[in-house]
Amino acid sequence: MGAGHHHQLYRAGDTLVHRLPPQCKLAAVAAFAMAVVATPREWFAAFGTYALLLAGVVLLARIPPGFVLRRMAIEIPFVVFALAIPFVGTGERVSPLGLSLSLPGLWAAWNILAKATLGVVASIVLAATTEPRLMLLGAQRLRLPPMLVQIAMFMLRYLDVIMDEMRRMRVARESRGFTARDVRHIPVIARSAGALFIRSYERGERVHLAMLSRGYTGSMPVIQDLTASARQWLLAGTLPGAALAVLLGTALFGTGGVGA
């Protein structure tokens, strides 16, 4: 997970998807991911339909496909893992192109790749069309405890500050000729981490005092009106609704594909 955390997450826009209240989008994406995970891996047609549905949302939100593809880099460690499964997996073996691959391993790799990719793309669309602050307020409306939401807000707000602090420490280390090559260099990195903790914690204390002096009593006022109309819920529900329809339809009529 070391990679891919530096990209711009939110793309401002004024499309139908951008305008939906955040809680609707969050619930829709979570329900969609649930439907995807519950789909048996043999139903190729269902996965194809899910992908088409997501592509439709990407088009509707006017997110450039390149943006989605670049952010999908986050998935790479698990792609590597999934590609390794057929080689180390057990069971019946097939040998296309002279490679000895495990058949259940291939199924498992496909299962993880398909479901993880759909989940990642859905999350990327969600993050790209929802302002971070609003996303957390939406989560609060979905009954995530307010304290957790507040912590997450502070984290998001000060993340760049802390990351910059860390970057400056790295620049300072490297400008003195330091590169971490083996285990003996761990103490140097760890001392930076210790200094970073003290700076973060002291900043937290200053932030808290500054907030107290501005009348903070333990909860943040919500000034946005985040109520969602039934129409908006219905609109957001089309994505998981369609996915669920595909899932149920395939389950009832068995038109899924190979092994269904």
Binding site: M1, A108, L148, I151, F154, M166, V183, A195, S200, G204
Partner: protein
């Protein structure tokens, strides 16, 4: 490495979600006692610190590098309750905004990387610091705590994988591979954690939660020679009751509904491991795992109990187990207060 969607089946994802929700709810109350109204800004900044420090890659052996999990470090620096909250928020933000870790796997990720690492790390740390005192002991305990927490998390991952993984790899192989690699990573994590804690101890010893007992009491010497020793006054704010209850109940309800309804749609085909077993021909001679004769084994394939009911019962058992642990933890905490 964050677990993505589709890695575990629905039953495991949902059960782990219930465990994560219950654990977070307990920690929300506990963190109030550790930090009172400073909870939000302090935990927020510490979460940002954990997020940043997770990106510090450290060299493990020639050519490979690992990155910090940070659970044990957070537990020692800010206390176990706040640490779980910070880890949960870090994973939440990574899942929501960075698409790192699937939304349906959020429960699994919080359980593995938040709750398990913090609990084992803090447990080992307390065990050592209770028998030995002093800064050196704190540093050594930090090393051991972080070292144990990483393979512990990996082993719980293996356990979950055994229960509901979707890949047909022999469980022994997984355990060996995960264990081996993570002991190595654990040594790195232990070194970093120990030196980090030692650094903070040297500069601001009052910030290390795990070393609170080390501070000498304040001694006042008057001009006339009389000495007053002020005892430690640790203020404890009683946790507000009932705040987390609606969330908890909603979580339990949703879990039961999902386990009952969704598991109907789970594949009726044998899962990977069973398939392997059939292929290898050892299913017939296998005596099953310890609960093989129970009606619940294989989620209702055995005793004629419908799949959905088995799912609900399974979630119930998980919840009772999680609840018992949480209740025990609270009892101990009260006695210690």
């Amino acid at each position: 490495m964050h677990v993505p969607d589709g890695f575990f089946n629905v039953a495991v994802s949902v059960s782990a979600g219930a465990v994560a929700a219950a654990g977070t709810a307990v920690c929300l109350r506990g963190a109030r006692r550790e930090l009172d109204d400073r909870t939000a800004p302090m935990a927020g900044l510490v979460a940002a610190f954990i997020f940043a420090v997770q990106m510090l890659n450290f060299p493990v052996a020639a050519g490979t590098s690992g990155h910090l999990l940070g659970g044990a470090l957070a537990a020692i620096l800010v206390g176990p309750y706040t640490a779980v909250l910070c880890m949960a928020v870090v994973l939440l933000v990574q899942g929501f905004f960075f698409a790192d870790g699937g939304l349906t796997a959020l429960g699994v990720n919080i359980t593995l990387m938040g709750i398990v690492t913090v609990l084992t790390g803090w447990g080992v740390f307390r065990l050592i610091t209770q028998s030995a005192h002093g800064r050196a002991a704190v540093t050594a305990a930090s090393f051991a705590a972080a070292l144990v927490s990483v393979p512990a998390s990996a082993l719980v991952f293996t356990l979950l994988f055994w229960v509901g993984g979707t890949a047909p790899i022999e469980i022994g192989t997984v355990a060996a591979a995960m264990g081996g690699v993570h002991v190595l990573i654990g040594i790195g994590e232990g070194l970093i954690t120990a030196v980090t804690v030692a650094t903070v101890l040297a500069a601001r010893p009052d910030l290390v939660y795990g070393a609170r007992g080390l501070a000498a009491p304040l001694v006042l010497r008057g001009a006339d020679g009389d000495v007053t020793v002020t005892p430690d006054t640790v203020e404890r704010v009683p946790a507000p009751a009932g705040k987390a209850r609606p969330f908890l109940l909603a979580g339990v309800g949703l879990t039961l509904v999902l386990a009952g309804v969704v598991s109907f749609f789970a594949s009726g085909d044998p899962d990977g491991l069973e398939r392997v077993a059939e292929d290898e021909g050892f299913l017939a001679q296998a005596t099953g795992h310890a609960f093989g004769s129970w009606s619940l084994a294989d989620y209702g394939d055995v005793g004629g109990i419908p799949v959905g009911v088995a799912g609900v019962v399974g979630v119930g058992i998980t919840l009772v187990a999680g609840g018992a642990v949480a209740y025990g933890a609270r009892r101990r905490d009260r006695e210690g207060a």
